[in-house]
Symmetry: C2
Subunit: 456 residues, 2 copies
């Protein structure tokens, strides 16, 4: 029986049989205590055994990490929990040596990264990866109950319109010996697809083709960038959610982003409440308050222009001077969310610093783009209304030097029953960092890939 079902369904006096692992075993002469877990709950069950066990001596020598099967009856506990297990039988399934790296003490996050295949056994990572799983479910739940269709956009792609310098190449070639053409270039006609291929950094363009068929769609899958950047927030492999909605303008996009994020946070509070409380207590003080507050707040909306105004008038000393034509720095994001004490949508950005497919506003200077900034984490969602005017789109494609041959199909969407539509992207790890209070992206991904690091 799963331990979480024991906690949910069983009461004092009930018999249970459980399999799992020993987090700690404190043996006295005549009795002992095992902290038992099986990973289905962040909480442990205390097993209090004594000499009535046939193999008392063996059990009293069980080391941390050992897997066991235990049978017995739930009895009243003197501890913090409602009950403990009085075992009639404990069987060792797999033992564990004394040099097992995960001992019942505090380990640093750095050390745990070095044993990434064992760290999910610690309470902190049980909380983090459970929340990651529950948050993924929250996204699917929200989307599917709101008539979104989940689309698996392709990862292998020949369209490098996001900038192929940021994309990994994928090939079947032996890199020691790449087949060459007469003029000494790689001969892609000999590769599996017969052409140069990349692993994509976004499913948005393909997603739009499905939004033009299903009205509301979302992608949710792995994404890759070659960025050679060793910061706390960059990884070369990460997961992303990219919803795209037909018949939606920028205002409605902000409404929808707000609804979606609040749903996710509420869902996680409801379905991983114990994990949130654990992290609140040991990792990120105030986490539950922060999340509950978000679900109740009304997100602020401010144009990029007005945000820059505020920053300039704030009287703060900035490392980067706020500028009407430029992006907003981390220090600015922080000041703005602190100032409003709330999540903030910043919209209508200068066109030159945003992507080519964003809708040009009537002022000719800004695009209908919006970034959501949240207290403590900065940018969480980035979206826009899309340019659907064929002439303007063609102009943008030219200005941004996009190869239109690769995306003729995308341009054609504007010819065949086109409509105003909007979408956004949310980095899933960014969301998990927000939900857990964990500050390094390496600690919210099972096996992180960063420059120079591809272990396991």
């Amino acid at each position: 029986m799963d331990l979480i079902d024991v906690f949910k369904k069983k009461k004092i006096g009930d018999s249970v049989k459980i399999e799992g692992w020993v987090r700690n075993n404190r043996d006295q002469k005549e009795f002992g205590f095992i902290d038992f877990y099986d990973g289905t709950s962040i909480n442990t069950l205390q097993i209090v055994y004594d000499k009535s066990l046939a193999n008392f001596d063996e059990v009293s020598h069980i080391l941390a990490g050992t897997s066991i099967e235990a049978e017995g009856v739930l009895v009243e506990s003197n501890g913090k929990q409602e009950y403990e297990l009085k075992p009639s039988k404990i069987t060792i399934i797999g033992d564990c040596p004394s040099d097992y790296p995960i001992q019942p003490k505090r380990h640093t996050m750095e050390f745990l990264r070095s044993v990434a295949y064992l760290r999910p056994r610690t309470k902190t990572f049980q909380a983090v990866f459970k929340i990651r799983s529950v948050a993924a479910m929250a996204i699917h739940e929200y989307m599917q109950t709101n008539n979104y269709v989940y689309v698996h956009t392709p990862l292998i792609t020949t369209a490098d319109c996001e900038g192929s310098d940021q994309m990994f190449k994928i090939t079947t070639f032996d890199l020691d010996n790449v087949p060459k053409t007469k003029d000494n270039k790689a001969d892609y006609s000999k590769d599996l697809f017969g052409k140069k291929t990349w692993i994509t950094g976004s499913g948005q363009l393909h997603g739009e083709t499905f939004a033009m068929a299903f009205k509301k769609i979302y992608t949710f899958g792995p994404t890759f960038r070659t960025e050679n950047s060793n910061t706390k927030t960059h990884a070369n492999e990460f997961w992303m959610i990219e919803p795209e909605m037909a018949f939606m303008h920028l205002d409605d996009l902000m409404d929808e982003e707000e609804r979606t994020l609040k749903f996710i946070v509420k869902y996680v509070l409801k379905n991983a409440g114990d994990e949130i409380d654990f992290l609140d207590k040991f990792v990120s003080k105030g986490l539950r308050d922060k999340l509950e507050k978000l679900t109740k707040s009304k997100f602020v909306r401010i144009t990029h222009h007005d945000a820059i105004d505020l920053l300039l008038k704030s009287g703060e000393k900035w490392e980067f001077t706020p500028d009407y034509e430029s992006d907003i720095a981390k220090e600015h994001e922080k000041w703005i969310t602190d100032h409003f004490n709330s999540p903030v949508f910043i919209y209508n950005w200068p066109k030159d610093i945003k992507a080519w497919y964003m809708k040009l506003n009537d002022d000719g200077k800004t695009v209908a783009a919006v970034d959501l900034e949240v207290p403590g984490s900065g940018e969480l969602m980035g979206g826009s209304e899309r340019e659907v005017d064929l002439d303007k789109l063609n102009e943008l494609i030219k200005v941004h030097n996009v190869d239109r041959n690769q995306i003729e199909w995308y341009i054609n969407l504007r010819k065949f029953g086109s409509c105003y539509h909007s979408g956004y992207g949310m980095g899933f790890e960014r969301l998990i960092m927000y939900l857990t209070g964990i500050e390094n992206i390496r600690d919210v991904i099972p096996y992180p890939r960063t420059p120079g690091n591809c272990e396991y």
Copy 2:
């Protein structure tokens, strides 16, 4: 308002405002009929307009594919549907030329593949991709309500233990000019990760590390194989689900696979019933019956040895003679599921034709592997109990020529609180082909990647 919500919540006499596309427009002199859809439902709403519309002339010339906004009242219909829309206003949002490829007539699947970015607008693909989305949700729903944790195993990997010849290489190198070492090999120290990396073909090994922490986990993500195979069932990019369960033997694995598959099929019948009925009528006669039958059947269980016995005694003429030491051919799969008229688990396979990590049975000849064969589609799930005996595992690693340096961590799982455990893989496209009756994998993936084909 989404059309599916109109169908669910609105009744005759209600006013509605909807945005979507025109599937067909048949205009008479004094009135006309628009088949309206927005992709949230496979069903269309008939809009019956007449000269009371201010722009009657414009509306009567609307071509298929045009996007519109329509306002009006639901009135009784003489047709098959409960009601139709009597519009007070129809606004054209985006027009569509007469050479629009998707016309209101039957197109071949081959033609539709050539306009893959438009095919989701056809009814057949609206059904297929909606079912794909609903089936994905079914999997998450089953797993999460049964205490599984969703794990995002890495796609970029340095472990080529599944056979690197079947894996794509991933690199940041300019393939025209790969950096070389002194002995003229590719100099991976100059690549982003500082070593040779692939895109994975399975998350199982990484998944096992999490099953040893969370008891029950599943992966669900894209997977890649370089197989140069142009069949109806092979693609180079596909999605896979790989659950892994600690404290589970082979018998329980079969129970769990059966429960899981039945849940998925029931969920799809319940949540995409209209789509199933559409495909039943126009694409795959008997589809609903086939699926309903599966949910009620008790799956048969037979050893590989006994299955070969049956095949040999069947009196059939085989292209491939059944053999106790060999795999089972497609023709055998078909005969067996026909014979039992039910899904069939074939278990205890000859060890030499199965993977190196499968548990060796006491006979020393077979492994505790199981394939699930379903009527009409052949193999749908493939799983096994895993080898946990360290000596046997070391022997298997040697026999199969696996590079143990790359998977020291995997081997170590057997040292630190090891336990009996099992898992299986299910190809998601295989499942969708089963659920839809669609016979070519290219028609159940949004943008299929097959040898020589990487369009869009």
